[in-house]
């Protein structure tokens, strides 16, 4: 285990570890709700639409998370409006909102001289340069998201599996949808510094998708998802660090974490397939 302690002996790696654990846990919990509601595309939309808020906040020298939150909420409202009007189908509405918001963000950033660097930092995160304040902000935003979903857990699950019954019981579907959308926005904002906007999608979908075939119920899925999220964070950071120190190979840490998570998903899917074919053989 020497390589493990060695990987995290430097202060910047310790801070990266803390934020990876926070973001992995929060993303893993939320991913359970995203998967049961089939909100992967909506999550992807949000990861792109927070971008203009971040860009404008960075130009105005305001805290990035405030800008991201405002833009995320604005796009949530825009989508709710289009979806209720039934003008176009939801997929098309999300795609148009996604590309338009993102394009406005790129236009803002492209007016600033250090175009490329800023863009890359915002899109892919810089987990190795997080400071104490970033960690506090991530913990706070992520904590709010988990709190929101825990308080509304029963209602959210009922709305996911039985929307008509849930509405008949007098629970406003739009309010529950809005609450979950806000929670997803909070996680996207919380993970901004660690993995960047583009790769947050993995945190919000892959953990629960990996666990889902193995467990029954939403709570085990959320807990299992958090475990997948956190362990992928640790393994990804160790791989990125060791590759850089031992082999002198530069691997983007945020993307390495996502790649570890996707590999776990692929192995899990293979195991599901193997289990099913064995059962099939036994039963015939």
């Amino acid at each position: 285990m020497a390589w493990l302690t060695e990987s995290f002996s430097l202060p910047f790696m310790q801070r990266a570890l803390v934020i990876a654990l926070i973001v992995g846990a929060v993303g893993g919990v939320l991913s359970a709700y995203v998967v049961i509601r089939r909100l992967a595309f909506f999550a992807d939309t949000l990861t792109h639409t927070v971008f203009p808020g971040v860009a404008i906040a960075s130009v105005l020298v305001q805290p990035l998370w405030i800008g991201a939150l405002i833009a995320g909420l604005a796009s949530t409202l825009a989508f709710t409006f289009l979806s209720r009007q039934r003008l176009v189908e939801d997929n098309a509405a999300m795609a148009v909102i996604l590309t338009t918001f993102f394009a406005v963000g790129v236009m803002v950033v492209s007016r600033v001289t250090t175009f490329t660097n800023d863009l890359i930092t915002l899109l892919f995160g810089q987990i190795l340069t997080v400071d104490r304040g970033d960690i506090m902000a991530s913990a706070l935003l992520g904590g709010c998201a988990v709190l929101l979903t825990s308080v509304l857990h029963r209602e959210l699950v009922a709305r996911a599996f039985d929307p008509e019954g849930s509405a008949a019981a007098g629970r406003p579907v739009w309010a529950l949808d809005l609450a979950l959308n806000v929670a997803v926005t909070l996680v996207v904002v919380a993970a901004l510094r660690a993995v960047g906007t583009v790769l947050v999608l993995a945190l919000l979908v892959t953990p629960a998708a990996t666990i889902r075939p193995w467990v029954r119920g939403v709570v085990p899925m959320a807990i299992g998802g958090a475990l997948v999220g956190m362990s992928s964070g640790v393994i990804g950071l160790v791989i990125a660090y060791q590759a850089s120190v031992e082999r002198d190979v530069r691997l983007a840490p945020g993307a390495t974490i996502v790649l570890v998570m996707t590999t776990v998903f692929a192995l899990g899917s293979l195991a599901v397939w193997a289990r099913r074919s064995i059962r099939h053989r036994v039963s015939t």
Binding site: V35, R38, L39, A40, F41, A43, D44, H48, Q85, L87, V88, E89, N91, A92, A93, M94, A95, V96, T99, T100, F101, F102, A103, V104, V106, M107, V109, S110, R111, N117, L119, I120, L123, F124, V198, L199, L201, A202, L204, V205, T206, A209, R212, P213, V249, R250, L251, A252, A255, T256, V258, L259, T262, F265, G268, S269, L270, V272, W273, R276
Partner: protein
């Protein structure tokens, strides 16, 4: 203001570089507009998004090995389609979730591959927001050729494409292979995106596939009419975006996508379908959707 807009138009027209860029953007607008109608009928917007992001490693690998970029990203695109289909067959996961997992995983693989080499930032931002201003004559010729092939395919296969989108069971009953049409369309979509992405970037490709078709949908209920309106809107957004980006001094790819979005937003406010929603009598007919 009008004078400075006019001088931007004049500048784009008189510079060969900008003229090529405007022509490329307009062509991709036509291509995206045509294919976008069928993407919207088949509700493939998220798959389109996934194909543009998850083919990123294909582009990186092809550029490392010195292969043709369109070939590399097409090959990877077919892999992605196969992976989405495979992962959907395993486990108890729906299409949206597996698409999300593969989109993010593919993008991460691409980012890791790029980070191994140097020159991280430049390649990546070119891939995301495109470098339409550096379009060469041969890029333009390739886009034109692919556009012709795709438009030909969409025209020739019009009936089976529309029928299998609306009524797959009926198509099977008539003795046609609905899945062959589906697969054929996905291959055409992969080739379209493989052509568009290296030229204009991922976000812009998605934008020009989705936004013009969604806008056209607001103005008509007929597939045939959509197939005319949508490419016209796409071409105008493409060329108009290049001119505006020169005027405002902003990224060309992003400006084109923002213009396409603005045209959609404008149409939601004034199009007949919005107006008909306000009068209760016609809204019922609206929900019976496309003819």
């Amino acid at each position: 203001m009008i004078a400075s807009l006019w001088s931007s138009i004049d500048a784009v027209w008189s510079s060969p570089l900008l003229r090529r860029a405007a022509a490329e953007a307009a062509l991709v607008g036509v291509l995206g507009g045509v294919i976008g109608v069928h993407v919207s009928l088949r509700r493939l917007a998220f798959t389109t998004m996934a194909l543009t992001h998850a083919t990123f490693p294909g582009v990186v690998i092809a550029s490392l090995l010195g292969w043709n970029l369109v070939l590399g990203s097409s090959a990877f695109g077919l892999l992605v389609v196969a992976a989405i289909a495979l992962a959907g067959g395993l486990g108890r996961l729906d299409h949206t979730t597996t698409t999300g997992v593969i989109l993010a995983g593919g993008m991460a693989l691409g980012v890791v591959l790029v980070s191994v080499q140097d020159g991280f930032s430049t390649n990546l931002s070119a891939y995301l927001v495109g470098s339409v201003l550096s379009t060469s004559g041969s890029d333009l010729a390739l886009t034109a050729a692919i556009s012709a092939v795709v438009c030909g395919f969409v025209l020739a296969a019009h009936r089976p494409l529309v029928a299998s989108a609306f009524d797959p069971a009926g198509v099977r009953a008539a003795g046609l292979a609905a899945s062959a049409v589906d697969v054929g369309f996905l291959v055409v979509l992969v080739v379209t995106l493989a052509t568009a992405v290296p030229a204009v970037g991922t976000i812009l490709s998605v934008s020009l596939v989705v936004a013009p078709a969604a806008t056209a949908r607001l103005w008509t209920d007929r597939v045939g009419t959509m197939l005319v309106i949508s490419p016209v809107i796409g071409a105008l957004c493409g060329a108009g975006g290049v001119i505006l980006s020169h005027w405002w001094d902003t990224s060309a790819g992003a400006t084109i996508a923002a213009v396409a979005g603005a045209v959609f937003v404008g149409s939601t406010l004034i199009s007949p379908s919005t107006v008909s929603l306000r009068s209760p009598g016609r809204s019922a007919r609206r929900q019976t959707a496309l003819r």
